[in-house]
């Protein structure tokens, strides 16, 4: 028992953790003795602000006459799918918190402000109030640092949370009753290549998974990104006029359907393999790393995902996809 207490101390004390010769071994041993955490689901959960706009929640100032129903119904199905699933936190990676100096994490317990989308301010002016699971955030942060990734905690209280995080956060959980872990999109694709981006995001996904499992918490992981990402450059007078909404080109449609086919048939590895071509040819928002990170947190799943919805938003392709990891973890089958 004394040995266990020492191990525990070495784990929770950052000072001892770094200096102990057993530092690498201790947490693993201890994790086995504690309640194992779990990723209950992983989801591709896109963030175009049009979805929140069309929902007319009280937090958003503009008012819409509906629109983009296929995707909003898709989010409804996703929420229904998880209605009876218990979980403690949501871990979310947003491509609209773009960081060039490593990966950053929201690091304060609460953020409350007004988020105005700089691209579609006519659609999205949302008063948000969200809570952060700082403890879980720190665990992921520390594990990423140990793995050699450049990571930073964002602890400036004036920081405004990006609209991608808020849109995905709202559409997935409009009650905002679960704390979040919010991870920035490191733009290593811009600096190097899709391959380098993917290598880093796969590593970040692995440590995210490890940290969640060691935390003892049940978690949903969300990648907030579209698929094909070529926009129309004009907006109709009524933005929610669905007679104007369609994919920008046949090529984009083909790429989206190819990816969805892989989602639905459990071919995550093929998605990772084809990520460079997909990202470049479909100008896909996977360039932000979210999809690669998500698949890595799920340990590159081989089971079919559930497609809850697909639709276009100002020409971009968006899919709402759930990997029900709770049904496929060891011991649960």
């Amino acid at each position: 028992m004394a040995q266990l207490a020492a191990l525990f101390e070495s784990w929770v004390s950052p000072d001892l953790h770094d200096s102990s010769a057993d530092a690498d071994i201790a947490p693993k041993r201890l994790a086995c003795l504690m309640t194992q955490g779990e990723i209950v689901a992983g989801c591709l959960a896109p963030h175009p602000p049009h979805l929140v706009y069309a929902e007319n929640p009280p937090q958003n100032e503009p008012v819409a006459e509906g629109g983009w129903e296929q995707l909003r119904w898709g989010y409804e199905r996703l929420r229904e799918s998880l209605k009876d699933v218990e979980y403690d936190a949501i871990v979310l990676l947003s491509p609209h918190w773009q960081t060039y100096v490593g990966t950053h994490f929201l690091g304060l317990p609460q953020f409350k402000s007004l988020s105005v989308d700089p691209v579609f301010p006519n659609l999205f002016r949302y008063h948000y109030d969200l809570n952060i699971d700082v403890d879980l955030t720190m665990k992921i942060h520390d594990k990423a640092a140990e793995a050699g990734l450049a990571v930073t905690m964002m602890e400036n209280p004036d920081f405004r949370v990006d609209y991608g995080t808020i849109t995905t956060g709202h559409m997935f959980n409009p009650e905002w009753d679960k704390p979040l872990v919010v991870i920035s999109s490191n733009r290593s694709r811009d600096y190097y290549s899709v391959e380098v981006m993917q290598e880093m995001m796969i590593e970040l996904g692995k440590v995210t998974r490890e940290a969640i499992l060691e935390s003892g918490k049940k978690v949903v992981v969300l990648a907030s990104n579209s698929l094909s990402h070529r926009h129309f450059t004009t907006e109709s007078a009524i933005p929610e006029d669905m007679s104007k909404e369609h994919i920008t080109s046949h090529a984009m449609h083909l790429w989206d359907m190819r990816m969805i086919e892989y989602f639905r048939t459990g071919q995550a590895q093929r998605i990772l393999d084809e990520m460079p071509e997909f990202t470049e040819q479909a100008i896909a928002e996977s360039d932000g790393g979210g999809l690669s990170w998500l698949l890595s947190t799920l340990d590159t799943p081989t089971y079919p995902a559930t497609l809850h919805g697909y639709g276009t938003i100002i020409g971009t392709g968006n899919a709402i996809v759930e990997w029900p990891e709770r049904n496929h973890t060891e011991g649960s089958q």
């Binding site: 490593g102 450049a150 602890e155 129309f232």
Partner: protein, 473 residues
Amino acid sequence: MSQGELVGSYIVPVHPHTVLAPEQNEGWQRLRDAFDEAAKRIKEAEADLLIIYSTTWPSIIGHQIQADPNPEWVMVDHDFHALGSIPYSFNIDAEFAHAWDQANAKRGLKSRTVNYTGFPIDVGSVVALKLLNPDNSIPAVIVSSNVYANRSETTVLAKSCLDVIKATGRKAVAVTAMSLSNRMFTTPIEPKDDKIHSLKDDEWNRKILEFLGEGRLEDVGQLSRTIHKQIRVQKVVAFKPMWWLSGMNGNRNNLTGEVLAYEAIHGAGGAVVHLDPTPSGAGDKEYDEDDVEFFSGERNVLDAEGDAPLPEPLPDQSSPSSGPALWEPTTGESSVNSEAAPKPVGMYPHARRVGDLLYLSGVGPRQPGTNAIPGGPISDDQGAPLDYDIKAQTRAVVENITRILEEAGGSIDDVLDVTSFLVDMDRDFSGYNEVWAETLGKVGPTRTTLAIRALPTPIAVEMKVIAKAPQEN
């Protein structure tokens, strides 16, 4: 009211270090000192408007122009949040913003104004306005950098801005908030260790600054795509601010340039450069890319009929506004009309088929859609003569003839007889004859050239054509 003008241009870096932590690095301090010097010069120039084109405000739906008269918030950088927060309260010239938006529409450009409480003013604009206009005494306007905009769109954005400056009599200063090389270190560094990310980036930066120091702004603009490939991380916004700034300065290469500072900010190339419009005495060197007056690119993806009306030409050097009204070409059983040809100035078709022959109405050089005159008009709205290029006008005439013949199913090779009209035979015959030899001369029609006093629009040449009619099926 005297005509407005641009009294100066500045290039400034975007990162918040110069506002929040100049004392932490000698180079950052030198950039800050250069900002302060630029602010002093702007005051001395008695500028009454600051126009910021910011690369850290990307947009998708055309360009966006800030029109909130007093935007207030606290800005925190996405990367450098640990440096602190920047509260801001700016003095925006909303009236100018709306006028610019309308001027864009007249030149065929999509833009919109934004006026929303809490709109996140981007870091580049915040840094520029905080340091160049610290007491908010000069009204400002901010424009986004559209991620899909090409050179012609960005150039026209500048020209429409100049339209408003001239019309409102403003003494404006143009500012591009941008990095030169934009590759930052991807891990945190100690301030004392800051340097340009690579020797290659540094060499390119110095070459760009050498050009700018010589006032060769248009040359830098024309190198924009190369610079972007060589030393820019492929972020959403390319090295396009040089297109805009050169457009604002008349696409010139003989400005008076001065580099006030050049330093690294977390590895990126940051410079404060002053470009004075006073000619430097150097020759205005040639440049290769076409000048653009109106934007006519792909901007009407959603609704070609409803969302993108054809632009109305503005009064300027190349498009007559006070000429005769334009008409839709008349239609009839034997008439041939082309959307690709300029609209008539009276009630007649572009061409008419009679038997085996096509008779074309007189064809000038005006451009379809914009009514612009390649080579420039021969006189301004008041009738004062202008310099113009007869060769460019003649080539445009031949192109318009070709379009009409192709609409009829034929080609330029079908031309049988041409009657040409020149308003200044002495001045223009030689240039006209040279282009003729390169084009219609090779086809071999008969030709008659006449000197006349005037044509209905301010053009120098018009041709009356008879051609073989294509076989009808």
